[in-house]
């Protein structure tokens, strides 16, 4: 690991300015950042420890939603009685990810910022436009089985690894930030995440020095909440595909994980085949939401797998609704 200097931030305002300097980075849970630093992929020269800021509570908003502090751990978020009751898809998505030890440390803000698990991003001997802009993408002609099928570019086909963010997307959660100049912003997830285009190293629209302070969940929308994740082993693995769903008749919402550079949701596709049975409905939704998919030969299986996974989700939901 390369040398860095370290400071502990005492207030969000002080923290927000502290990473304006080049090479400075926030650290909270550290479960992804430290791994990447050991592998010489992340090379911060200065770490601003935000882990003890007062951003670790979940409070109710005036309109009946929840404001989740950026430092709420994955375990605490998934375990909160209000989250279990009103946002089951979020609890389910969180506990589908990582291991108990990591969820105890990983934070809400950090989870949104975790970086790609593409094996070429992780291998510093090989080209990767996300890690080394302009170096090329070894995944395009390499092992692409786990990678994205939509929203990709000729520069990068890495998929977003988070389960939590997929549930956040289906819940219409927004990201709250504090900029270095002291002003606050609220960003929808689609405005928070960038698609790779020809700058895959830029993953979010966060500005230099901008601190995620929390996530706001709108009031609960009811319906049956399901998170279904398909992976190569039963536990502690990233998704090949995943579905976050709130099933509520024609008002159903679906977001998809493991298939795109950010949680993938196409609102216009959600009513497709709404009157049909689970199988035909899933086919209609996936056909509409993935019409633009450009999978590789190795990951073309993901689209039919996602369709079958959505069928299973709809069957499960109809079983629970009876």
């Amino acid at each position: 690991m390369r040398a860095f200097t370290y400071e502990r931030a005492t207030t969000p305002e002080a923290a927000a300015g502290a990473t304006l300097a080049e090479g400075a980075k926030f650290i909270a849970g550290g479960t992804n950042l430290l791994d990447l630093m050991k592998l010489d992929i992340e090379r911060p020269s200065h770490l601003v420890d935000i882990s003890r800021l007062d951003l670790n509570t979940i409070t109710e908003t005036e309109d009946g939603g929840l404001r989740v502090g950026a430092l709420v751990t994955n375990t605490d978020l998934a375990s909160d009685p209000r989250v279990k009751a009103g946002y089951g898809v979020l609890s389910r998505a969180i506990v589908a990810g990582a291991s108990g030890q990591i969820r105890n440390k990983a934070t809400t803000g950090g989870n949104l910022l975790q970086r790609a698990r593409c094996s070429y991003f992780y291998d510093t001997n090989l080209p990767c436009n996300k890690r080394e802009p302009g170096s090329g993408c070894a995944a395009l002609t390499g092992l692409s089985r786990p990678l994205a099928v939509i929203g990709t570019s000729d520069a990068c086909i890495a998929q977003h690894p988070s389960d939590m963010a997929v549930a956040m997307r289906v819940l219409d959660a927004t990201v709250n930030t504090l900029r270095a100049d002291g002003t606050e912003r609220t960003l929808a997830l689609d405005d928070f995440y960038r698609l790779p285009g020809d700058t895959p190293h830029l993953e979010t629209t966060l500005e230099a020095g901008e601190l995620i302070t929390g996530v706001t969940l709108p009031p609960p929308v009811g319906g049956t909440h399901v998170y279904r994740k398909v992976r190569d082993r039963a536990s502690y693995a990233f998704a090949l595909v995943s579905v976050a769903a709130i099933v509520n008749g024609r008002e159903s919402r679906f977001a998809f994980g493991g298939v795109a550079p950010r949680p993938w949701r196409v609102e216009e596709a959600e009513t497709a085949g709404a009157a049909a049975g689970p199988d035909a409905r899933a086919r209609a939704v996936i056909d509409a939401a993935f019409a633009e998919a450009r999978p590789t030969e190795q990951n073309a299986f993901k689209v039919p797998l996602l369709r079958r996974t959505l069928t299973a989700v709809l069957e499960q939901a109809s079983g629970e609704e009876k």
């Binding site: 040398a3 550290g30 200065h46 770490l47 291991s99 108990g100 030890q101 990591i102 105890n104 502690y236």
Partner: protein, 194 residues
């Protein structure tokens, strides 16, 4: 920028630095002076000379380095020691002693819950944390009802999935932890009845 509004300059990025860190490990204070790169795992092993906690993959994939920080199980390889100044750390050495084993240590021995034993300190700390998490209602991927978290072998298998044992002593580990859970809850039930 106004000179009267001077802020503390940011530290020079390449300036070598060490930090004073006080960790309370198994009830004993350790005042250490560390390069900020030192992980909690390396601080425990190389600086506090507590080698019970094992370095396996050093990348958060195997669970061998699991310790309890302020009572919660975490991976000591994926966190910096400087971030834990003033916090309470429990390692396998703090669970029990050879003469006074923790019930889980005793059960692991009787059920042969280890073979090479390298993963065992992490398995033990993880098991302590897991039983506490189940008692606190923390759900897992296999929890059927989010609002009704209860103990089962399936829950243990899922919750301990971050602890890899190459010898595959898993069935014996499940038996050992299950027995301790039953003994603890039997005792709790008896206490409640009295």
């Amino acid at each position: 920028m106004s000179q009267t509004n001077a802020r503390t300059p940011a530290p020079h990025p390449h300036q070598p630095s060490t930090q004073g860190v006080t960790l309370s490990v198994n009830g004993q204070e350790h005042s250490l002076t560390l390069d900020p790169r030192v992980t909690l795992l390396d601080a425990l092993r190389e600086h506090a000379h507590l080698t019970g906690t094992k370095k396996g993959c050093d990348h958060g994939q195997c669970g061998a380095c699991t310790v309890l920080v302020d009572g919660t199980r975490v991976l000591s390889c994926l966190t910096l020691a400087v971030m834990h100044d003033g916090q309470e750390v429990t390692t396998v050495e703090g669970l029990g002693t050879p003469d006074d084993l923790h019930p889980l240590q005793d059960a692991f021995i009787r059920h042969d819950g280890y073979q090479c034993g390298y993963c065992t300190p992490g398995q033990l700390c993880s098991s302590v944390g897991t039983l506490d998490e189940i008692a606190r209602g923390v759900p897992s991927h296999v929890t059927a009802d989010l609002n009704d978290v209860s103990f089962s072998a399936d829950e243990l298998r899922e919750r301990l999935s971050g602890n890899i044992c190459r010898c595959a002593a898993y069935p014996n580990i499940i038996a050992a932890v299950s027995e301790v859970h039953a003994a603890q809850n039997g005792a709790a039930a008896q206490e409640a009845a009295q």
